[in-house]
Symmetry: D2
Subunit: 352 residues, 4 copies
């Protein structure tokens, strides 16, 4: 018998991916699967990929309430922003990994600027990006952890080592990222219809308005001790999963003065992730493709120095539902529960 | 230490999927990874999704020869048709799972009609579709097993139970199947370029000329004791993986005379796969989608009776690289080696 | 000044395609563009591809009512089934091309079986498939014409010439067709979300329940003078547009007795469409791909005889919004108005 | 009878799109269609979308030589880089629109840096971006015109008006663009296979090495009179056509000092393209999507000011084969021949 875990908000894409990962986890046992408006519906009617597992076959989503979920030793919350904070209040002693934004931002003013005046700022939990320096110990000892956003994870992994190594300037970072559609969730929106998306790239939340912007700034500032400012533009790509982030920052004088600036960037990334089971600097000359981490908890990074433009360019990729959401949440649970960090996870994407 | 296995022809898509599955297999250990024209190249330059595993990082493909491969206790051969038979001759004592067509057909004349006069008929090995009645015992005792084709697996799983139950006529079966592009391999052909395929469905090998046609007829005839004749049309779908087969056969009098012919079809499928860990009859009203088995060894089936047209219609789906190739090969190896049938495999597709 | 035309139901995909085609039509002038729930919204907010045209820039959808539409000399109705009949009643003297199913079926019982008991059978208009024998004259003289369904158009074009030529048996036809998602319209349904569709083929309306089934039977029966029965299975393909239909019928004795049955099939198709500007038999050896007719009013067909299975196999393709809907509607309007049949239309798809 | 035109290099994607556009052009007549290694093959075997036109049905590609092509009054050259210059030498008096890079760059050193030491710098022709200030008159009077690159067209259209209006700083521009696969041509490369591309975004030519980088810098510098430096990163998107460029530049003091910096950006774009038939500033709040210009000669732009990051962000989109290649080439030919600029072209994309 494994540790008992529950998934709140399991009818969405991140919740479904959590169920898929937990179904194959050697040390965790699913004891509650809840949903909001889909409560009462068969789990496999919404997630037909889960057919053939005793925890799902013939089982309906439970309603999301503290009583049902509280039986578990650890609860994954994959709820809309605002709802996580409410449920967490009703579960004051449970271990929780929260996939929403509710507990990511420390600054109340920033919270209200990006998430509206209506939703109270809930405070801040341990930030669950284990690859950041010192983060793992912090996560291991936390009762509650906020899993980072998908764009945030992908961008921070690319840039934190360069800032820490003094190779990139913190004050004019430009990030342009493409995401698969599952990042927008299972919402019934016209712009997410297959007919609109297939064969089409589009931009949205342009001009620094995407909610992951302050999260990336906060994490990079804390990791580097510098005040980080950045321009972030998300785009929607015609694929179900995957994020490809193009992260550029001005090269510092230290970087341009090095014998091989591009190699210096690569060395910093390589050193930062040399022991990571999930984040990998690709061999020289290979550039990331989202397919290589599809369905996995892996992240790939690669860098080049553009001396003409004076910029470092780091390309990073994750699966937005994997390392960008559910995979990372399982990684966090593993750390919190003292399990092997890689239990139930893989770094190998399903490709082609 | 697990059982030592080797993969010959590991630079292709089926070979790459074998490596991915073997990397996560608890009981098997990869001891040789060989290729043809890619011998000497880094494994991860062709399969970047495999970065981060000691058997692949910094390792080059070996050349495909009997000496290297013969060290393994079981060899997966994912070679072009014709080459498997040659290599097998040089490995007279090894356990082999062959993913090519070389050892699938019993009839030499049929072989030559579909595979050309040039390639000698190599004879026939145990046919590796474990869900066919009696097949598992046969596979467990075989030294060499021929893994079925992807279209064949998907079609046979749909129709064999109906023929065996006397619900479908054997003499005018019509199958139309759509496959993702990885089924055609990693060949540099214009018609497989992304620009040509994306946004486009096309037909090929129309008129009973596809090589899986006699394989399906042979397996269904043997499973049912009837002489099966069928029309098979493959189409190419704009997706990397997945087969969706629409399999229709005339309803027998027994079928149309039953109180609920559609339910009779469903009952036959349900009974055939009630204990199968990989093949699943979907709940009534749910129709298969390839995404639900993406990256898995699962197969989904669902049926309806069309009394107006007098036909049973069964829809089945597999991942052509999963249950249609590499996943099934691992399942066969598990059986041959006395391991749990499901070791290293999942029935849960990566979706959405 | 061209002939004044109006589009009712212009916010959907077929309606939007009508606007696109009419914007480039040399002889027609758009005088009213109406919608249902989108009335009052800017046309280009829903159809951003139409930006840059005086009939659309800064113009909102009008409400769909007879007064507004009645100003036009010809009205295209792209409304949900059931609504067309109501609007037509209010426009007793206008020329109308209706893209709904309301006026396609002659048999009231069949209508109610497939469209429900609630919606009254509206009767039958001239059937607008100009390539059927004798159809063009009929359409030219009609005040109201029912444009065929997309699957129906694609299937009928494939099979009608073979039945008429006595090469195919009418009583056990099997059609399996794949459609792009725009065929399902702009509906907010979970199964039409990009995340669900991309990378996935699925089946729906299996077992003879799709509404185009009786329409195809009616048209083929009338065209051939034979009683046609068929099994029709639609599938959803991960592409925005396009239908690929695999149409098989038993070869007649006349067909199998011919010196070259495959050529006999090709000859019948070639003769049927030798003067058609839109329907083309492909050169021998080339099989249809939907991309080749993308965005056009073209249709491609190709055939083979499978003597082993005793079946003719015809592959046909159209753009479901082109020859399958809006393109054909414009072709019908051209005929009704005495314009050149090809005015404003092309047979050349946008490819790759 | 229209003006006689020829297409050299018509077997590729840009060449095929030229043929498609020319087939529908009211004032141009195709007199020669040539190819390199495909010479002698039927045109419609490579471009099945062109079936049904007398200039293509049953016609083979001619070989690319000056004698055949020289009969035309205007020649489109869609040849590999380096070959255009050679052919142009042999056609000293013909009007030519060249789609290669051979005649785009004025600086020989830059040419050799990006195109290699082997290919001689051929000099510079009139730069064929008609929407740049003063460009149209220049093009009308030129005998030979170099059509811009696809990324270059899309990026320059986005940024030139802001630089000219003094709203954007020229010295730290960052452009990240996603392109459909047809931009890479019909090359048989593994990374362009459908299996590799579908469901995957990837980066390439990172670090300022893409050949369109100096072309964009040259055009923007000339258009603004400033010295422009930029970081350009291209990415490959899973779609056949379309470019989406995210173009960011530091806001000038004039921009940040304006009452509404975002509106100032929009005003500059709106003024630049107010009379353009092809380039459109979208209504406020709508962001470009590549599908809206699919198959057309249109370009869409939209802008926002990010005051926190101090950057203007302009999103622009074109069809890389349309306004990015063949469409623009036809527009150039129209200007050179004194035809209406829009003849044979549309700004309305095929969508959805």
């Amino acid at each position: 018998m494994g540790t008992r875990v529950a998934v709140a908000g399991a009818s969405g894409y991140a919740g479904g991916e959590l169920l898929r990962l937990l179904a194959g986890h050697p040390d965790l046992e699913i004891t509650a699967v809840s949903a909001g408006s889909s409560a009462g519906k068969p789990i496999t009617s919404i997630h037909p990929n889960l057919v053939g597992h005793p925890a799902f076959d013939g089982v309906n989503f439970a309603a999301t309430d503290a009583a049902t979920l509280g039986e578990a030793e650890l609860i994954f919350m994959a709820l809309p922003h605002g709802e996580s904070a409410k449920l967490a209040d009703a579960l004051p002693q449970a271990r929780i990994v929260d996939l929403s934004a509710d507990f990511r931002l420390g600054d109340a003013e920033t919270w209200h600027k990006f998430y509206g005046a209506d939703v109270a700022h809930a405070g801040r939990w341990a930030y669950g990006l284990p690859e950041l320096p010192g983060a793992k110990e912090n996560i291991r000892q936390a009762r509650t952890v906020a899993a980072p956003g998908c764009y945030a994870t992908t961008s921070i992994l690319a840039l934190a080592p360069l800032l820490a190594a003094g190779l990139a300037e913190p004050d004019d970072i430009v990030i342009v990222a493409a995401s698969g559609t599952s990042g927008a969730g299972r919402s019934l929106r016209t712009d997410l219809l297959a007919s609109e998306v297939m064969g089409s790239m589009s931009a949205y939340k342009v001009g620094g308005t995407h909610r992951h912007t302050p999260e990336i700034e906060q994490a990079l500032s804390e990791a580097s001790g510098l005040e980080v400012t950045l321009s972030f533009t998300p785009t929607l790509a015609p694929m179900p999963r995957g994020i490809l982030a193009t992260c550029t920052a001005k090269l510092t004088k230290a970087a341009t003065a090095s014998a091989d600036p591009g190699q210096a960037l690569r060395d910093a990334l390589g050193a930062a992730y040399s022991t990571s089971p999930f984040v990998h600097l690709l061999p020289d000359g290979q550039w990331p493709a989202t397919a290589a981490v599809y369905g996995s908890n892996g992240a790939h990074v690669q860098a080049a120095a553009d001396l003409h433009a004076g910029r470092a360019v780091v390309i990073s990729t994750t699966d937005n539902l994997g390392k960008g959401a559910a995979g990372q949440a399982v990684q966090l649970a593993n750390l919190m529960l003292g399990l092997p960090e890689t239990a139930g996870l893989t770094t190998h994407g399903v490709a082609p």
